[in-house]
Symmetry: C2
Subunit: 440 residues, 2 copies
Amino acid sequence: MTFKIRQFDSSSADFAVALRKVLAFEASEDAAIDQAAAGILANVRVRGDSAVLEYTARFDAVEAESLSALQLPQAELDAALEGLEPKRRAALEAAAARVRAYHEKQRIECGSHSWDYTEADGTVLGQKVTPLDRVGIYVPGGKAAYPSSVLMNAIPARVAGVREIIMVVPTPRGVRNPLVLAAAAIAGVDRVFTIGGAQAVGALAYGTETIPQVDKIVGPGNAYVAAAKRRVFGTVGIDMIAGPSEILVLCDGTTDPDWVAMDLFSQAEHDELAQSILLSPDAAFLSAVEASIQRLLPTMARKDVIEKSLQDRGALIKVRDMDEACAIANDIAPEHLEISAQNPRHWADKIRHAGAIFLGRFTSESLGDYCAGPNHVLPTSRTARFSSPLGVYDFIKRSSVIEVSEAGAQMLGEIAAELAYGEGLQAHARSAEYRWKANN
Amino acid sequence: MTFKIRQFDSSSADFAVALRKVLAFEASEDAAIDQAAAGILANVRVRGDSAVLEYTARFDAVEAESLSALQLPQAELDAALEGLEPKRRAALEAAAARVRAYHEKQRIECGSHSWDYTEADGTVLGQKVTPLDRVGIYVPGGKAAYPSSVLMNAIPARVAGVREIIMVVPTPRGVRNPLVLAAAAIAGVDRVFTIGGAQAVGALAYGTETIPQVDKIVGPGNAYVAAAKRRVFGTVGIDMIAGPSEILVLCDGTTDPDWVAMDLFSQAEHDELAQSILLSPDAAFLSAVEASIQRLLPTMARKDVIEKSLQDRGALIKVRDMDEACAIANDIAPEHLEISAQNPRHWADKIRHAGAIFLGRFTSESLGDYCAGPNHVLPTSRTARFSSPLGVYDFIKRSSVIEVSEAGAQMLGEIAAELAYGEGLQAHARSAEYRWKANN
């Protein structure tokens, strides 16, 4: 068998450099794609519906007389749901219920409530929290069309109190994905348009005669969609631009090696660029996992993708101890971190940077992908250093609230005027001074 | 006098179109600036310290043998603070104390704590909240060097628990701004480098031999800095790219027209592109404010800037009633919203979109700019529809925490496997199935 996964030892002199090479990933920024997306956006902005219709005919081979003809009636979403086989429908509804319950809890815990306090002189300070008015959800067509992504993007918005959720999903040659439409029905999406690509991003960002402008666009897409999202950022909010998916498993050697091998596969099967890395202080365990990989790989339906991903981007790394494993994990800041160990909380306390932390050998990443409750939209490519899973907090925003009392205006006005003169801003100073008692 | 501010009436047929024209502002995206910034970033990424030193010599006329020679010793920050005249120092310290107190309260109210809950079968779900490790603060040199901005950017990071705050501030021809350095001392900035431009952004985003990589870069800068920040977004986090500053005043006619005129001036004096708009249902009051503007304008130090800003971008708008004023405010989604009226809370309840809401006639915007407590870094250009004032929440991030019990692995595994097979992801399904009792 020619397949080989790279192995490293953290005590070797060149380990730091070798690890950097394993992690290195440069998102290809294709200037041609970016320019094409820019052209489509500009056209949609000026010509609205008719531009979207033209691009949809050209790229998806879907002809329609009007953009409203491309809106799916609610009855069609409901029919997709009714048409599912009962077991699959039950699973989708159970997943949605759990995701909803978790995000309801998050809404309370993440502080999405207005608050204020009153100072001794009567001045009131605080913040008003408001949900976004309208959100657009991009759902890819074709092979990467995941109903679970519909749930993960729409449910937090609904829980946050967003008034209207508009989903766009391309249907090349008119082919619709019933699981995706059923998920939209379950998640409570308000309107679905069968459009996609940069033209759908433009329609949501600028609004057209038929599609109202949204306030934020979330959801994954191809390179054109990603380029378009980057360009409309500022006109609307966007979620992160996702890189390849990653898993880092920390194992003390007490988990069945087959389980760990399959967890690495579950990441690798997504995509040849996906990254699966295992850290363990137990050399014999690492060998056992490698043997499991060799034995199990031929049995996998997506064997070719898994093999290429593991070979090009995977690694098995022998570390000195679990403390070092935690330090390396913080450096990698992985999207998914499995701590498959006795007393996993002991090690989790040392983790600062990860999108999601899966604790204990029963917590396979796949449970989190579908139905544990937490969101599966997670920061990739080391962005867990500064960003968070998609959540209710992404669909609310805050306004500062300031109500200064007459006494407060005197006290604060003296400070403000002094600093305003220091910055050379006379009108700022005067505006404060007008509120002083001496001037009333 | 040739000066004229535009006046509109919301009941006129073309008002909606006219308002769009008043608000229209297209951020100039200069391809040459963007390319220059890209070149500087690429050079800093590869050549580190030496590239930063070369650009600093070229653009700021500051020569140094090493980048560490451009780090200001703490003693120099302390000396700047000691050197302030007592009244100014007291004002700066009072402002910092109030900003800190407000953000401490925000830290508690905005949910920046870890949380979890345990389900009946023992499965634990939650989120772990962690401050960012290291933050970079960009402070402009020259005329727009505001010590208040140092406080507003550094204090929320400190309150969030960020371990290290690195400030960069260019000092063209070696000229340093003592107020800015004093503010850095008060805010507790850890290290200050006298570098600026795209080269400083690159140094913070990628790290060099001397400057460690940060996790997020905040703070305003010129067009090169803005272009560089857009480009490093993803490698590090960034705050919003700010547009021109704006104020919208809603007044029921009960406030002294001179006060309102001066509030409009205080926005206009920032910049010729700044926007000041007044809405009132009281036509006589609008005329009175216009008279105040004409009378007070000649007395202003920054008269030329104010005049151009009001003439090009300002407006006085007669509305039907205060309800309509609130609806227009939600459409504009202004950075600063003053509700200068009797019972301002009645109207504030109708506001969904604004960066900061200033309630009542004693609450001039300038009090919020300096010392009321809330942050003065606010969303501009309608981005208050989906984004928030800079806050403690910008300096923390979350990791999902999932610990599935053995019983939970059975229940969740059946759902996950069903959905994984539905999405064609066999390894996901197997990974869940391994955890079933039947397979143990």
